[in-house]
């Protein structure tokens, strides 16, 4: 019997000004990355509420990544600085509860870093794939 290959579901929140544009650039340059990565556009990484991240895991995501402008380059001056603190604290809490720390990540990707976007997504997808299915933050009701 053939075992179905595990394809992780990855939600990537990208800020409109840098990372979403970085993803566009990756597209422009035809830089491939796994199709399991699905992007949600937000104005700034600081728009991402921890509730969204938990929601994604609840609904079946295996990994959640946040991408924003590099610190200092935020379109809104300081949004990503707040993101950095909030996510550092949230990720540490998830780890404290025994949830795999590799399932969440924050990366700074500028509009010029199409190659970085592609590389980051490829790496993150591989990391999550190696972890296997999200079991510790899953909601069985949402399984197919």
């Amino acid at each position: 019997m053939q075992v179905k290959e595990f394809k992780p579901l990855i939600v990537a929140f990208c800020c409109n000004w840098c990372s979403y544009a970085g993803a566009d650039l990756a597209g422009n340059n035809r830089l491939n990355y796994p199709a399991e990565v699905k992007i949600i556009r937000v104005p700034c990484s600081c728009r991402v509420n921890p509730m969204f991240i938990l929601r994604a895991f609840q609904r079946g995501a295996d990994g959640v990544i946040l991408c924003g402008c590099h610190p200092g380059d935020c379109h809104y001056t300081s949004g990503n600085y707040y993101t950095r603190r909030r996510m550092a604290m949230l990720f540490s809490m998830l780890d404290f509860l025994g949830i795999e720390r590799e399932r969440t990540r924050v990366e700074w990707v500028s509009a010029a870093e199409g190659a970085k976007f592609s590389a980051v997504m490829t790496d993150f997808a591989a990391t999550v794939k190696a972890l296997g299915e999200n079991k510790r933050l899953e909601d069985l009701r949402c399984k197919k």
């Binding site: 921890p50 509730m51 938990l54 929601r55 895991f57 609840q58 610190p71 200092g72 300081s78 600085y81 707040y82 950095r84 603190r85 909030r86 996510m87 550092a88 604290m89 949230l90 990720f91 540490s92 809490m93 998830l94 780890d95 404290f96 509860l97 025994g98 949830i99 795999e100 720390r101 590799e102 969440t104 990540r105 924050v106 510790r136 933050l137 899953e138 909601d139 069985l140 009701r141």
Partner: protein
């Protein structure tokens, strides 16, 4: 035994009522047994003399009541604040949750509050009276002829064993000493959990949180949780629910709750005190406090009115989210 006596507090309250400084008194009133004490609002001398109590079981943190009570009361409210209550008091002021002008705060020293479960573990069930006025606590049960003498220190509540401060950070008037911040071991338990493997931690919390019955006592007793409408009651928030339907809901509720009070939680310990299921919820809050202290510098919510909490602040060289794990056991 508490350093300031019940009689002193009653006299203070009566005199402040009499001279018109305050129009009512937020205090503790006795119950059926000597330990089941309820917060109450007193407006006259007779009821104060008859009902007001102050002993080792006056654990309830009054600060939160001020949000609603100051809106309703004419005149000033007298509130007696233990040191840990003063931090919550300040934090609520930082968040503009009540009008400082409507409160007359009297700081009272606290020798720590007793945990009735610990008393029962020593003396057994069937308590008919507890006398906290002597050197030792005298507990009489229906099953024994003579009262059992208990060392107050042996029945201290967990939060009082790890008391962070005997200092009053807010008051209009102080009875007794101002007190000092204490070098407590309150983060030891968190550190112990941090030292476990992720699997052990997961099992630990899965077990603890599985007991949650979502009674919301932790939230409703929490002096930081004063939202006009809580996200867990708001059907549009996306996290509303009335029951911990499964282990995800259990975790989400407690993660979001702890995150919402992160940087605002003064570590008063009410959440764990009121949890009917004995879940050590304070460890979640303490984890955030410990992390913020380590990553962004020492910060004590409520120590100062108007201070800027770590999560509404930043520096340009903060550590990266991935770096919080640096130097920690990564045997994941």
């Amino acid at each position: 035994m508490q350093k300031v006596s019940q009689q002193q507090l009653i006299d203070k309250a009566v005199s402040l009522l009499a001279d018109g400084t305050v129009s009512c008194v937020l205090g503790w009133t006795k119950g059926e047994f000597d330990y089941d004490i309820t917060p109450a609002l007193f407006t006259d001398e007779a009821s104060l003399r008859q009902g007001f109590v102050w002993n080792d079981f006056c654990g309830a943190n009054f600060s939160k009541y001020l949000v609603a009570k100051t809106r309703k009361c004419e005149g000033k409210i007298l509130v007696f604040l233990k040191p840990c209550d003063t931090y919550s008091f300040n934090q609520l002021l930082t968040e503009h949750r009540f009008d400082r002008e409507k409160v007359y705060a009297v700081g009272i020293p606290c020798e720590g509050m007793a945990d009735i479960d610990k008393v029962k573990a020593i003396c057994g069930d069937g308590i008919s009276s507890i006398d906290c006025n002597g050197e030792k606590m005298a507990v009489q049960t229906i099953y024994e002829d003579a009262p059992v003498q208990v060392d107050a220190s042996s029945v201290l509540a967990e939060r009082c064993i790890n008391c962070k401060s005997k200092k009053h950070v807010a008051y209009d008037e102080l009875m007794g000493d101002e007190g000092d911040v204490i070098d407590s071991a309150r983060f030891d338990e968190v550190a112990k959990l941090e030292a476990m493997t992720p699997d052990e931690r997961f099992t630990f919390w899965q077990n603890e949180l599985s007991r949650c019955i979502r009674c919301n006592a932790c939230r409703d007793a929490c002096p930081a949780c004063t939202c006009e409408v809580c996200v867990f009651n708001n059907p549009k928030s996306g996290v509303e629910n009335k029951s911990p339907a499964n282990s995800f809901e259990e975790k989400m509720f407690h993660i979001i709750r702890a995150f919402h009070v992160a940087g605002r939680c003064t570590d008063c310990g009410e959440c764990s005190r009121v949890c009917p299921q004995n879940i050590p919820l304070h460890l979640l809050n303490r984890k955030f406090i410990k992390d913020m202290n380590e990553c962004y510098g020492e910060y004590q919510a409520g120590a100062e009115v108007g201070s800027r909490a770590p999560l509404v602040n930043y520096t340009t060289d903060d550590l990266e989210p991935g770096e919080v794990f640096n130097g920690r056991d990564s045997d994941a």
